[in-house]
């Protein structure tokens, strides 16, 4: 048996402060490996010991990934590095996406006593954010607020846009930001030398590097003031004199509306006129006016605002004519050429993916005939056989364009169609429900207006939206006499927007039935 000698307490080795611990949080495919290689090359070229690790494998297939690097000055004798970051023990965290910055904070890789956080503010949406029928996007603001508390030094900028703008990728701008942050004891030239040593796409990488460096040093330039305010002024339509006069009189009516709702009403009016014509625009203002008349200035014209928005959306339903019209506009061609970066020496082939069903065709028929067909299964079957199939239309070809052009020109015909009648009936019923709650149940009226948001999409999706709308309205009737009725309607609507199948909505409806049924 040996002696049980008590060992002396040993103070923390001051040399340990010389280890720099750096974590890179990225999404698979973002080039985290390239960035790691550059950092390693840089550290070694500056005479540092350096060790890097990563977890490769399936995690790289668009999943969240971590790379980890440690380095220490060359005069230290064989330092022992860790292979994984520890919570509360990371000096520099680079996050290649905003939610990955959030993940780094959650995992403790950003702490106020030591961490420089360099994060790109751009978003790569996770699947769970995208599949929500409504708006499921996570809040970058919350992550930003947390980052401000968690980081000792914080560099936040859109590193992705900065890199793409100069023809490179985010790994280069992040490397630039790392240089610009001053968190590593190396000169800018040494960083650039590491990029050159990599040998691939050196020039674009160096441009993105410079952009990232500037962002780290000077921050993002303040954004240009919101163009929205200016935009309402610019939209003065061009067109025949007769229509111009009609438009001017509509605009004059807008001027007569309460100031709070003018902007929304003008946006709505523009959409409606663009969909059909000035007469239709006048109908829109008539409908709106009815609700404005009974609105309450004390409530900030909430009712009128919602009405201006949702009546416009309801009146500009998505029929074949509208889709064909939008698809053949010159502005669309210009936008696509722009987005696809078509240069003058290139050509653009444009194929639209359309799939009309019998319902769409019948909707185009005059009301009476359409109804007859709609109620005759044999005819519906026949029409389905004739028309129901996927169609690839080459909209840049004469034939394809002409077909859509003719359809898009049927606006005069539209008012006679079955679809128009159905939309009008639905609109009227909805607005009657709204009016029924006025003036006593103001909040209910507002919520019922907002429920229009549930109706969207085409074919099955549209049908599902309609059924959700109906369900929410039937739920509304159950709670219409309760003080918190409006709150319940809002809850039902939010539940309906959460998942496709409407499970959340059905659950909420059950709850309502349990106390109101």
């Amino acid at each position: 048996m040996s002696l049980a000698l008590p060992l002396d307490a040993q103070p923390t080795d001051p040399a340990l402060e010389g280890i720099i611990k750096l974590a890179v949080m990225a999404v698979g495919g973002q080039g985290g490996g390239v960035l790691t290689n550059w950092i390693e090359t840089l550290a070694r070229s500056e005479g540092y010991h350096c060790q890097a690790t990563s977890v490769a494998g399936v995690a790289q297939r668009t999943g969240a990934t971590i790379y980890y690097i440690e380095m220490a000055p060359g005069d230290v004798a064989s330092p022992v590095f860790s292979l994984a970051p520890s919570a509360g023990d990371v000096d520099i965290t680079i996050a290649a996406e905003m939610m990955e910055a959030g993940r780094a904070i959650m995992r403790g890789f950003v702490t106020p006593d030591r961490t420089t956080l360099i994060a790109s503010t751009h978003r790569m949406l996770a699947v769970s954010e995208k599949t929500v029928p409504g708006d499921g996007m996570a809040s970058s603001e919350e992550v930003k607020a947390a980052a401000e508390v968690a980081a000792q030094k914080l560099i936040l900028a859109d590193m992705d846009t900065a890199a793409v703008a100069v023809g490179s990728v985010i790994s280069a701008s992040l490397f630039g930001a790392l240089a610009g942050s001053g968190a590593l004891p190396f000169k800018r030239e040494a960083f650039e030398e590491a990029v050159r040593a990599g040998g691939k796409g050196v020039e674009p990488s160096l441009r993105a590097f410079a952009a990232g460096y500037d962002l780290a040093q000077n921050g993002e330039a303040p954004k240009a003031p919101e163009p929205k305010a200016a935009k309402t002024e610019i939209i003065e339509p061009e067109g025949p004199a007769e229509s111009q006069t009609a438009w001017a009189s509509l605009i004059a009516r807008i001027a007569g509306l309460p100031e709070d709702i003018r902007e929304m009403a003008k946006a709505g009016l523009t959409k409606v006129v663009d969909f059909q014509d000035c007469d239709y625009g006048s109908e829109y203002l008539d409908r709106l006016q009815l609700l404005v008349n009974v609105d309450d200035p004390e409530k900030g014209y909430e009712l009128s605002l919602e009405a201006a928005k949702h009546i416009a959306n309801a009146m500009t339903y998505d029929d074949v004519i509208r889709v064909a019209d939008l698809k053949t506009r010159p502005q669309r061609f210009r936008r696509i050429e722009d987005e696809m970066r078509v240069k003058s020496e290139n050509l653009l082939h444009l194929t639209d993916y359309l799939h009309p069903r019998a319902e769409e065709i019948v909707g185009l028929l005059p009301e009476k005939l359409g109804r007859k067909m709609e109620n005759d299964p044999a005819w519906m079957k026949r029409i389905d056989r004739w028309f129901n199939r996927g169609r690839r239309i080459r909209t840049d070809s004469l034939r394809g364009f002409a077909m859509l052009y003719v359809l898009g020109g049927m606006r005069k015909w539209r008012l006679k169609t079955l679809r128009h009648r159905m939309e009008q009936d639905h609109l009227d019923a909805w607005l009657t429900t709204v009016s029924g709650y006025l003036p006593d149940r103001y909040d209910m009226a507002v919520e019922i207006l907002r429920c229009r948001r549930l109706i969207k999409g085409y074919s099955d999706t549209h049908a599902r939206g309609l059924s959700k709308f109906d369900k929410v309205l039937s739920g509304a009737r159950l709670v219409e006499n309760r003080d918190d009725g409006a709150v319940w309607v809002a809850r039902l609507r939010e539940a309906a927007l959460k998942d496709e199948k409407g499970t959340d909505l059905d659950g909420a409806l059950k709850t309502i039935e349990s106390f109101a049924g």
Binding site: A4, L7, T53, K130, P227, M264, A267, F333, H349, Y353
Partner: protein
């Protein structure tokens, strides 16, 4: 061709004595094999040693110069079986695969190999896929070492230690006539560093030369009565020989002071993590000089009793740092101490959590708790009584979405599962089993298809209970990798023999894609050293499948869905197999992009497709995304006060696979999608004709604009 090329790095494998190698762990392992006179190598890809297979494949030229045979084995079982060459011949062999699943597959061969014992050094390099970032279940390979009694090395995770372990492994194997498994964890496979190289050594006896002079040692045949003798040989001869070699060559290491009232024992692979925590506790300096005695098990099996008892006896307490469960070593150590009548307190599980990886924080907390309990006087004041309270950080757990891996942009498997989801919407939900491979991502949102995965190539086999059929036929998924690994016999053969009335969908993406794009038998690429272009459908017909549907473009969602519908509703009672073939987009882009760019630069006509969404036609319902999950199909918030919900948007990363448009068509979602094909270097006639079309279209557009109000925005 694999996803990652190591051609440039492989040149460093030629370095000789006096040079320094700097690079990744797996390259260091390869170099060590060459320096140790290995005669043949092989393996099967899988994280984290996929890249080791890629390095070996890229180093094939160098290896043939040295007379080394490289084999890309059909499975881990095949790889382990290859080590049979070292049973009768004095040739060193090494194979690699992932643990623990690869070891599961290989266990039959490993058991036989261990019974026989070896003549030449036999090394299994296993990439232990345990802990955070793992792609498999939570097991450890350790149990296999115990049951078959082969030796397990777990070197400290730095390049010199790993390189040394390769040499030690061969020597230990030969000294004890036992195969040796060298375990490297995920991060040590990819860890970078440097080591001093020595010259490559050609095998003293090459496999080619061995064929000229066949050898056979009757004692090594695994049949009674020899197999009974093998058991005694293991205990009486091989084990003592191994212990002797381990002790004499000091394979296990001790650090820190000779004596102390407490001690820490850790597996080699945990060393750096232990040192980091000791550094943070003020118990070690930057170079790892510790003030607590440390015993590092670079050989984790066998545990050399005399040596560990020597370390433990006389100490008040010893902490064993061993991740995962069961805690194999702790149990052995406990028994040893108890039988010895020792009073040393053994700590391990309890102070450490029984399950899960020892992350930095867990290691720190565990070591702190141990030292605080048994030797608090060692801890510096600031650790004993920290005076800075921790800052409270906002809780982001409800904000930050999870980001599991998924199908890449343009993945040919996406339309298969979109079609399957559409078929289910039409015909009702089905009993579905999955398999191992990228297609397993279909379990996750947005597809949420399939639940059970019983193993590689076992998708259809795991639906065997439902082979008798019923009102709604069952469906199983199998990848091309799994098909050739094991699926042809275990799954398809099983279906044929049992007259299965169910449906199997074989996802054929031309590669073993999930592991990094290695070639398999049915790969379409020409491969100089391997036989490719052996169609799956031919193999199916060969084993007796009669109902086969070959789909050569998975992106045709309508056809794909209709074929699945046919399989689910046909009167045919036997096995129905759909082979859905399209090339892995990641590999395709890697191959085609440089060619395309060159063609454009050379003035050749090239069409570049990409998809787009008309934002005014899109209503923001996101039904398309629920049938896709494509990374390039995302959302965009519009600057329009009338619109509440973000609309679909396709970004620059789109590769024009067409899935979104096809899905919108097949599911009749909406008319928002369009394909924009940019034609580079069009012909003169084409340009002239397009000009004419353009003028007519512009005239028509102008004509309409003159008759209506036109707002400056596309749709105001």
């Amino acid at each position: 061709m694999a996803e990652r090329s190591f051609k440039a790095e492989v040149e460093h494998l030629r370095k000789g004595t006096g040079d320094v190698f700097t690079g990744e762990g797996i390259l260091a392992i390869t170099k060590a094999l060459l320096e140790n006179g290995v005669g043949y190598v092989g393996g099967y890809q899988g994280a984290p040693i996929s890249h080791l297979m890629d390095v070996l494949a890229d180093a094939e030229d160098l290896m043939s110069e040295l007379g080394i045979r490289f084999e890309a084995n059909a499975s881990e079982a095949a790889a382990a079986a290859m080590l049979a060459a070292s049973v009768h011949y004095p040739i060193r062999g090494a194979v690699t695969f992932k643990g623990s699943v690869g070891v599961n597959v290989a266990s039959d061969a490993l058991a036989n190999l261990s019974s026989s014992g070896v003549n030449g050094g036999a090394l299994v390099i296993v990439g232990e896929d345990y802990g955070e970032g793992s792609s498999i279940m939570q097991e450890r390979s350790y149990g296999f070492a115990m049951k078959s009694q082969f030796w397990l090395l777990d070197p400290r995770p730095n390049l010199p230690s790993i390189v040394k372990a390769v040499g030690d492994g061969f020597a230990l194997s030969e000294a004890s006539n036992t195969p040796v498994m060298l375990m490297v964890r995920i991060r040590s496979c990819h860890v970078t560093g440097s080591f001093d190289t020595s010259d490559n050594v050609p095998p003293p006896l090459s496999v080619k030369a061995a064929l000229s002079n066949p050898q056979r040692d009757f004692k090594r045949v695994v049949l009674p009565p020899m197999s009974y003798a093998h058991e005694h040989d293991k205990i009486d001869n091989r084990w003592p020989a191994a212990e002797k070699y381990i002790l004499e060559n000091k394979l296990n290491e001790r650090f820190g002071p000779e004596d102390g009232k407490v001690g820490i024992m850790c597996l080699g692979g945990m060393y750096n993590s232990v040192i980091r925590s000791l550094q943070r506790l003020g118990l070690a300096d930057i170079s790892g000089n510790t003030s607590v005695p440390l015993y590092v098990l670079n050989v984790t099996y066998p545990v050399v009793k005399s040596d560990v008892l020597d370390f433990c006896l006389g100490k008040d307490a010893v902490l064993l740092v061993e991740e995962g469960q069961p805690e194999f070593i702790e149990q052995q150590l406990g028994a040893m101490l108890y039988k010895e009548g020792a009073t040393t307190k053994l700590e391990g599980k309890g102070i450490f959590p029984k399950a899960g990886e020892y992350t930095g924080q867990i290691m720190f907390d565990g070591l702190e708790a141990f030292v605080r309990q048994y030797a608090p006087e060692l801890l510096p004041g600031k650790v004993l009584a920290p005076n800075t309270p921790k800052t409270e950080l906002p809780d982001l757990s409800k904000t930050v979405p999870i980001r599991p891996p998924g199908f890449c942009t343009g993945c040919p498997e996406r339309p298969i599962f979109a079609s399957l989801k559409l078929a289910e919407q039409e015909l009702g939900s089905r009993q579905i089993t999955g398999d191992i491979g990228c297609h397993l991502f279909a379990c996750l949102p947005p597809f949420e298809i399939g639940g059970s995965t019983m193993g590689y190539g076992l998708g259809p086999a795991s639906n065997a209970a439902f082979d008798g059929g019923g009102e709604k036929r069952a469906i199983s998924i199998l990848g091309d990798g799994g098909f050739w690994h094991n699926g042809l016999s275990s799954s398809i053969g099983n279906m044929v023999f049992n007259k299965s009335d169910s449906v199997a969908i074989i996802v054929d993406n031309y590669y073993s894609a999930a592991t990094g794009g290695q070639d398999v038998l049915s790969s379409r690429a020409e491969n100089d050293t391997k036989s490719t272009n052996n169609p799956i459908s031919k193999a199916l017909a060969g084993v007796g499948v009669e109902w086969i549907r070959q789909i050569d473009r998975t992106y045709d969602v309508t056809k794909m869905r209709d074929t699945i519908r046919e399989a689910l509703t046909t009167d045919y009672k036997g096995p129905k197999v759909i082979v859905a073939s399209s090339e892995c987009m990641l590999n395709r882009q890697r191959r085609e992009k440089p060619q395309r760019n060159k063609a454009i630069a050379d003035g050749k006509r090239v069409e570049l497709p990409r998809f787009g969404v008309d934002q005014d036609v899109c209503t923001g319902d996101h039904a398309c995304i629920r049938l896709s999950g494509c990374p390039s199909l995302s959302l965009k918030k519009l600057d329009d006060p009338l619109r509440d919900d973000p609309v679909a948007h396709i970004d620059q990363s789109c590769v024009g696979c067409g899935n979104c448009g096809e899905v919108a068509d097949a599911a009749i979602l909406c008319p928002s999608f369009y394909e924009a094909k940019v034609v580079h270097n069009p012909s003169g006639f084409e340009t002239w004709y397009a000009g004419i079309r353009r003028r007519i279209i512009s005239w028509l557009q102008g004509r309409r604009a003159g008759k209506r109000l036109a707002f400056s925005g596309e749709n105001a």
